[in-house]
Amino acid sequence: MWKKSESEESHPQPAPAPMPQPAAAPKPPVHQAREPQAVIGATISIKGDLLGEEDLLIEGRLEGKIESRRHSVTIGKNGRIKGDIYAKNITVEGTVEGNLYGEEQMIVRQSGTVRGNIIAPRVALEDGSNFKGSIDMSPKEKTAAAPSPDRPVIAKTT
């Protein structure tokens, strides 16, 4: 169902080392610097939650929760999501109806549409993107605290 993205597949392999390296000082190959990205293609429809521990690109349709808290989730231009998304970084180029929880950052591209709430410390919404909902960029301490409906007013009278 998932496949490696084309960009990953076409990534050039490092040239074989001409001489064997000493075992004491191994260097990771260059291609391991980037983590592989799982892709859900445009023809795929899923009903149910999606849990993962790798970067994820969704071009298809999904009704359910997406959870990849230590990795990035990208909703591609063709992607249509109905459900909440939990990830380290979230990028939306397609359409999402649900709440987005970004541990680090959240980006809605110009082609993106979001109907829901965004909770992330850093939020970037490109001009032309379509968004309706709330954006919570407050520190985690505040987010975790129960909101008080009658908390003091911040505005001062002049």
Binding site: D127, K132, I135, V153, A155, T158
Partner: protein
Amino acid sequence: MVQIFQPEPVVHSSLGLQALCQRLQNVATCDILELGPVRGGNIEFWSRFSPTMYIADLRSSLPMPPLPSEDTEFVEPEWDRLLGLPEGRTYDVILVWDLLNYLELQVVSSLVQYLKRFCRSGTILFALIFDQKQMPATITVYHIADESHLRYENARSEMCACPRHQPRAISGVMTRFRTSNSFRLRNGVVEYLFEYEGEV
């Protein structure tokens, strides 16, 4: 007759925005209700106040033209549907921008009455009222350039007649709000900061 809007200098002074930012300077966090569309630069600007923002984008929800003809019977707009605001939340700042120019006073009154339930004592409502014969035919999108400057984005450059809501008329429909600040700018815009006094 439709006239072509000659864009003025790109960036305009905004004493209203400046006054609003001064009020927010010492706050730890704030809740902002944006009635305009989302603009990345504006979100970035407000992020310094560690806000929770709600983007209502009323511009895209309102039937166009939003200003009904005078002989049309008044129908209470479905603000619940148009704004989609979560119940039980209140905001420190409501960014109305120039929206009120495109609504009849009766509709302005209806909107203000509706918004009150999302206000707490001291909530600031930031509005721009045109005081000139003509105004842009569509609601303007405002980009915050810095704490005292706005960039106006008009998708279309056509102009239309301006209702020129008078200060007394506006104050009359803004019940339980007091005019905290008002600034008449050289470009024919009056910027208002209305402050909600709470219900008695």
